[in-house]
């Protein structure tokens, strides 16, 4: 029998056994889009799964669950982070902003409007992460040129290949005074 381990196959067997076969449940408070939510969940739950499975906020998307694609990008205390690499329990006391919290009421956020205006997406799956990342990119001061935007937006993969239009959308918002 082969014991070969490979990322495409089963994870390694060296996973530590859960205490008493069970895993601790944490009771925690998540502050998301200005609202506090008291929740109980498995301590292994990622912020991405907490948002999607516990709060029904499905705008942030799973794409790789290893921080490689950026589809799950959210703001944590204003910084863009991969929600798939962040444990929910580690974000207590922090302010989380998702794509659902970006618009002001019915009015789209300028970056959302710019993505529509420049056709900066096709399938739309990476788009929530791109938009969150783009907002942060400008706030960080990394939108000074097309080249800089390309570099600082490279953590968000777009398989449809909308990159040139994403750059235009970010430039547009930056030129109009930011995000």
């Amino acid at each position: 029998m082969s014991e070969a381990h490979h990322p495409a196959a089963a994870p390694p067997r060296a996973v530590p056994p859960a205490p008493d076969g069970d895993w601790p449940i944490a009771t925690l408070t998540l502050r998301v889009n200005g609202q506090a939510h008291r929740l109980a969940m498995d301590t292994r739950t990622t912020l991405l799964d907490a948002l999607r499975d516990h709060l029904g906020l499905t705008g942030a998307k799973p794409g790789c669950n290893q921080g490689a694609c950026g589809a799950c990008t959210v703001l944590i205390d204003g910084k863009r982070m991969n929600a798939c690499l962040t444990l929910a329990v580690a974000t207590q006391g922090q302010e989380i902003t998702t794509i659902e919290g970006l618009a002001e009421g019915e009015a789209l956020h300028p970056m959302q409007q710019a993505f529509i205006d420049h056709d900066a997406f096709q399938c739309g799956y990476c788009t929530p992460g791109q938009i969150i990342s783009a907002v942060a990119c400008i706030r960080e001061g990394h939108a000074g040129s097309a080249e800089e935007i390309r570099e600082f937006m490279s953590g968000n993969l777009c398989r449809c290949g909308a990159y040139p239009n994403i750059v235009k959308a970010v430039q547009d918002v930056a030129a109009k005074g930011g995000a």
Binding site: A9, R44, C64, C69, S154, G161
Partner: protein
């Protein structure tokens, strides 16, 4: 009619997509839903000897461990290329047999994802492995089965008589689609024995048929729902084995099941672009007139299905070559079934052929654009039919102008900038205009709106928007007065969103039912007692700007429809090209995928483009950079320049990624894809993409159907890789005949 078709309307699905409101398959949830996790085989050949499911069954939250011993028996389904709807005829868990690395051997269901994944990770499975698995395309392996053959003239005699000859072998690796959306589904059985599956789908109707067949259900007991698809590129056209596993597990558990296939697990459980090789001979006169083309290929497939993508018959349409001999073959390997991946036949074929064309231009000492001009065919060289339209040379002229091609110094290594080697290359882009058929329903409502229903998919291509434009055009409405609903097998049948067929087929269907609904409305209004149009000739009525008019009489569309007995007008019909045989077109209603082309009865239809690229290569490190790319395309009527531009641009981004980055690397010891995640399987990122110019030429095509639009979803990728290889040769004098094009290939 108004002037909406051809205008750059913003996407109607834009607001849903930028706010996170668009609901993709895995965004759904159900009360009592269980989470599924897969256990994959680490061996490529052999059998499952034992699974100790008791070791995890007692863990908290674990509801079911499904193995080959408990998997419900499925009915057979054929792969799509053989008329079925399956990705592969061999499906996991149907027996203890293992036929490829990463084949699922168990499914764990639990209350939460964390519990399911943990248990799947520690489930003890004992394997009996067999040696000898091969997942790569072995060097020198001959074809085991011929899947494509074409002869034009006497290719051997033309070759013998050719003054200038080029012989070259090309090779492309296996690649995976890697849509950002993970594979997976939510499967839900209802108490009446019906099954609803939320699964990203390029073909809701086809997937319904395949799932229904597998579970022995009538098709109307199954519904496939897929309004939004997070990237597809061919990978979501057929029923994956993992989809059937989720449906089977939900049946066993008696509860809804959601399966999120991880990125890593998606590599072996989904389809992929198979590795391929081409052996080319080109012969020409000293004056640069092509005479002979020999094309022999080997294409990787699996052991259980013949998945073939013969591209030779498309290449045979590019230039006027009197002698052509094409033989395309398969080599069997121990992998899951390959499948359609963006321009599946054309991408590797055009890379090889357009590289060879450049090699011939170099051998002749001729400008490669001029060389192509000298070999432009007046008619289809294979069938002798006229072109429906063909604008390749116009694309080259315009592309050369945009790019500044006249400034090219043709000798290799003759252009430099700031110490870097500069290379300029070009290549033809081509994609056949497959002419399919589609049905649609259009309803005029008492709110003065139009609702369009069609099971076609918008995989990001803009289908929602262009269908609204077409309906709006025919009905004198603005697109925001049209609601388009797609991606649900409950709607009228459409072809798979593949082969770049949807815009033409479903566009024509929507145009047809819109005209029928308008005619039915006019007829009915002339029969409304005390209505303003009572007794008038229906042909004297018109509809524009949401108002029905005839002479001095006017009525808003909302009032007009409200005045009718049923308060609505509805039309359902199918559009099929008059040259599609009726026997073929009616297959649409039997979950078939009928399509004709590129040659129809009286014409041959393909879309063409010309691509130009610049590469910049550091003379010491040999790093390859791409400062700019230009693509000029002619695709018949451009229905929406904004979404069409994005398709072509996205295709060119795919082309760069295909040419420079993408390869599913095979571990030959374990017959596995070894770089199976997004950190190691590189796709182009934002910083990889240069200044990119896309231009679409006006092209009128009256033969392919009333909408006159050639598909644009795939052509953009086709010319990029050869243009880059040709540019790298121009920069370095080194001809690279194997993708991806890498630093190590140009070191010497």
């Amino acid at each position: 009619m108004n002037a909406i078709i051809g205008t750059p309307q913003p996407r109607l699905d834009g607001p849903a997509k930028v706010t996170g409101a668009a609901r993709y398959a895995l965004d759904n949830s159900r009360a009592g839903m269980l989470h599924a996790a897969l256990v994959l085989s680490p061996v490529a050949l052999g059998r499952v000897a034992a699974i100790d499911d008791a070791a995890v069954s007692a863990l908290p939250g674990i509801r079911l461990v499904m193995t080959h011993r408990t998997m419900p028996k499925l009915e057979e389904d054929k792969p799509m290329q053989e008329g079925g709807h399956a990705h592969a005829s061999f499906r996991p868990l149907e027996s203890d047999e293992i036929r490829y690395h990463g084949q699922p051997v168990a499914v764990v269901l639990a209350d939460t994802r964390e519990q399911a994944e943990y248990a799947a990770g520690i489930l003890p499975v004992r394997y009996e492995a067999r040696a000898g698995a091969v997942a790569h395309l072995p060097e020198g392996a001959p074809s085991e089965e011929e899947v494509g053959s074409l002869d034009v003239g006497d290719a051997d005699a033309e070759w013998e008589a050719s003054a200038v000859r080029v012989t070259a072998d090309y090779e492309e690796p296996a690649q995976h689609h890697n849509p950002i959306e993970l594979y997976g589904c939510l499967a839900e059985w209802d108490p009446m024995g019906g099954l609803t599956v939320h699964v990203p789908s390029q073909w809701a109707g086809g997937m319904r048929a395949g799932i229904a067949k597998s579970f022995g259900l009538p098709a109307d007991k199954v519904r496939v729902v897929s309004p939004y698809i997070g990237g597809a590129f061919g990978g979501k056209a057929t029923v994956l084995g993992t989809t059937l596993l989720a449906c089977a597990a939900a049946k066993l558990a008696g509860r809804p099941v959601i399966l999120q296939v991880s990125r890593q697990q998606g590599f072996p459980t989904s389809s992929f672009r198979p590795a391929a090789r081409q052996h080319i001979r080109l012969g020409a006169t000293a004056e640069g007139k092509l005479r002979a083309f020999h094309y022999i290929t080997e294409n990787q497939t699996c052991r259980f299905d013949n998945v073939s993508f013969p591209g030779g018959e498309i290449l045979a349409r590019l230039y006027d070559i009197p002698g052509m001999k094409i033989r395309e073959g398969l080599v069997r390997t121990d992998v899951n079934a390959p499948g359609f991946m963006r321009a599946p036949a054309e991408t590797p074929a055009v890379f090889a052929f357009e590289s060879a064309i450049d090699e011939m231009a170099v051998a002749l000492g001729m400008d490669p654009v001029e060389f192509r001009r000298r070999n432009e065919p007046a008619k289809d060289p294979v069938k002798g039919l006229p072109w429906s339209s063909r604008s390749l040379l116009r694309c080259y002229e315009r592309g050369a102008e945009l790019f500044g091609w006249s400034q090219r110094s043709h000798a290799p290594r003759s252009m430099t900038r700031d110490g870097d080697l500069i290379g300029w290359g070009c290549a033809t882009a081509v994609y056949p205009t497959f002419i399919s058929t589609s049905s649609a329903t259009l309803r005029l409502t008492s709110e003065g709106r139009a609702e369009v229903h069609c099971s076609a998919s918008d995989i990001g291509t803009g289908t929602y928007t262009i269908l609204a434009q077409i309906a709006a055009d025919r009905l004198g409405l603005t697109p925001d007065k049209v609601t388009v609903r797609l991606g649900d097998s409950a709607f009228d049948p459409a072809n798979v969103a593949g082969g770049s067929t949807t815009a033409l087929a479903s566009g024509n269907a929507v145009g047809k039912v819109a005209e029928q609904a308008r005619a039915a409305l006019f007829q009915a209004l002339t029969e409304v007692e005390e209505g303003p149009f009572k007794g008038m000739a229906p042909a004297s009525l018109s509809l524009s700007e949401g108002t029905v008019r005839a002479g001095n009489a006017t009525q808003s569309l909302a009032e007009a429809v409200s005045s009718l007995p049923r308060g609505k007008v509805e039309a359902t019909d199918q559009w099929a090209h008059p040259e599609m045989p009726a026997k073929q077109s009616k297959m649409l209603w039997r979950a078939g995928s009928p399509q004709g082309g590129p040659d129809m009865q009286s014409f041959t239809a393909l879309a063409f483009g010309a691509q130009f690229v610049e590469v910049r290569i550091n003379p010491r490190t040999r790093t390859i950079r791409v400062p700019r790319m230009v693509g000029v395309y002619a695709g018949g009527k451009i229905l929406n320049p904004r979404t069409a531009h994005s398709q072509l641009m996205g295709g060119m981004v795919w082309g760069l990624s295909n040419a420079l980055l993408e390869a599913s690397e095979v571990d030959r010891n374990h017959a596995s894809f070894v770089n199976a995640d997004m950190a190691e399987y590189h796709i182009a990122v934002n910083a990889d993409i240069p200044a990119l110019d896309v231009e679409m030429l006006e092209e009128r095509d009256d033969k392919i159907g009333p909408i006159g639009a050639k598909g644009l979803g795939e052509i953009g990728i086709t010319g990029t890789a050869p243009a880059l290889a040709n540019a790298i040769f121009h920069a370095t004098g080194i001809r690279v005949r194997k993708l991806p094009l890498r630093i190590e290939d140009i070191l010497s």
